[in-house]
């Protein structure tokens, strides 16, 4: 084996890599915030919401959890224009990630809600709070705290899964790696660099999520 490693191309192509990193970060930032928000709403509907809305949300969740992310992405990017909804690569990628994380996170958050002791609902009721006020002020935060580690893992999975958005030419980190290796034929080095960056991003993302948890949950509320 006498392969000569060659990283000289980094100097020429680093703007692509930086842009790719920026887009990947943007995708997961939007995906996480909007996806978890969507997940909270869906979890509320399935755990405590009106009966008519439950099958609607259940259908959405099952549809997303039982089909490949790549197909969801293609459907949004290539399929929706037939209905007159034309999205840019980036818009389609963002939407796909929100829709995907929304479904997965709703199931995780629902588990947290359903683990709430009955006494919490009763205490809220006896203080004259409405069911929605109880959810918003009593149930939500401890529920999220219960499942925060699982939810964090899911966000990291979705961040790593965002690599497939390069397939619709959204210029994320994977797109940059593909682009560089097709220009330089340095496949090993290009994917090595992108692997290292993904690894770093994933570790960083876990740290950030841990920090967010530390900020929104009081020090001692584990139950």
């Amino acid at each position: 084996m006498n392969y000569q490693f060659e990283f000289g191309w980094l100097f020429e192509y680093y703007p692509q890599i930086v842009k790719g990193i920026a887009i990947t970060i943007q995708l997961i930032a939007v995906g996480a915030v909007a996806g978890i928000s969507l997940g909270i709403v869906c979890a509320w509907v399935r755990a405590l919401g009106p009966a008519w809305a439950k099958p609607v949300v259940a259908a959405y969740v099952e549809l997303i959890r039982n089909t490949p992310f790549l197909i969801q992405l293609f459907f949004i990017f290539f399929g929706l224009p037939s209905l007159g909804l034309q999205l840019s690569e980036l818009q389609a990628a963002n939407l796909a990630m929100v829709v995907n994380l929304g479904a997965y996170s709703s199931e995780i958050i629902r588990a947290g809600i359903q683990a709430t002791p009955k006494g919490q609902f009763e205490a809220g009721s006896s203080l004259a709070m409405t069911p929605f006020e109880i959810f918003r002020h009593v149930v939500l935060v401890p529920s999220l705290q219960r499942i925060w580690p699982a939810l964090s893992s899911q966000v990291v999975i979705v961040m790593l899964g965002s690599a497939v958005v390069s397939q619709i030419a959204a210029e994320d980190l994977t797109f940059a790696a593909n682009f560089i290796q097709s220009r330089t034929f340095r496949a090993f080095e290009a994917y090595m660099v992108s692997t290292a960056v993904y690894l770093l991003l994933a570790i960083l993302l876990r740290q950030v999520l841990g920090m967010v948890g530390w900020l929104i949950f009081p020090r001692r509320a584990a139950r």
């Binding site: 203080l127 709070m129 409405t130």
Partner: protein, 241 residues
């Protein structure tokens, strides 16, 4: 008109009738102890009064607020009666102060500074003003229960329902909670308590209700009920022969 009027209340869980026609009128300032074996329906009766259980038949009203199964009526009723639970049920993500402030701000839309002032006053009333910033799991069981009492009092109810509030406490913590309840009674708060603290019932209550198999089996002032039980069931329950 009595403060709390319970008329012909029946409650079934499936085929199992737990309350078989309860009649009980409570006057303002009365302290009522509800005693009886487990399964006699005493907790269910208490939970019916503020709508945690829906009644199958009969009627309940508190200071003119009728118990009806819709959000507006339930809210009106629950603003008049507070409830304290065996398991405290404090909100774990809020401090003691936060627990007492929450429903004031959410339900009554009290501005935060006023809610906080009220919370401090109520925590002081139960002897815990120094624990304002402590989270529930930093407090002993007795302290948690006193915070729960302060939380209920902050809504300024005209009656309090206490559902075996000392049953989950170590014996040495029971006294501190009962001392708070005793004080409330002395201040004229109307109290309905399901309790196993017979001596407390004898000392503090104006009337004792003995429930047996879903009915009010015997009722009267504590000196009569405890000293001179009429029915064999109550005699057996009290262990006198």
């Amino acid at each position: 008109m009595s403060l709390i009027e319970i008329t012909d209340v029946r409650k079934s869980f499936g085929p199992n009738e737990v309350l078989k026609g309860i009649n009980l009128d409570v006057e303002p300032g009365e302290v009522i102890a509800i005693i009886g074996k487990s399964g006699s329906g005493k907790s269910t009766l208490l939970r019916c009064i503020n709508g945690l259980e829906t009644i199958s038949d009969g009627s309940i009203s508190v200071a003119g607020a009728q118990l009806l199964d819709d959000e507006a009526h339930l809210k009106a009723l629950r603003l008049k009666v507070g409830m304290i639970f065996q398991q405290f049920n404090l909100f774990p993500h809020l401090t003691a102060g936060g627990n007492v402030m929450l429903s004031q701000m959410v339900v009554k839309k009290t501005p935060k500074p006023e809610a906080e002032e009220m919370a401090r006053k109520m925590l002081e009333r139960v002897g815990l003003d120094h624990k304002f910033d402590a989270y529930p799991d930093e407090l002993s069981g007795g302290q948690q229960q006193r915070v729960a009492i302060a939380r209920a009092l902050a809504m300024q109810p005209i009656a309090l329902l206490c559902d075996e509030i000392t049953s989950a406490l170590d014996p040495e913590l029971v006294a501190e909670v009962l001392a708070v309840v005793r004080e409330l009674a002395a201040e004229g708060m109307t109290l309905l308590m399901v309790t196993h603290e017979m001596r407390f019932a004898r000392d503090v209550c104006s009337r004792v209700v003995f429930m047996h198999q879903g009915r009010v089996h015997e009722i009267g002032p504590p000196e009569e009920v405890f000293a001179n039980p009429q029915t064999p069931e109550l005699k057996q329950f009290l262990g006198v022969h």
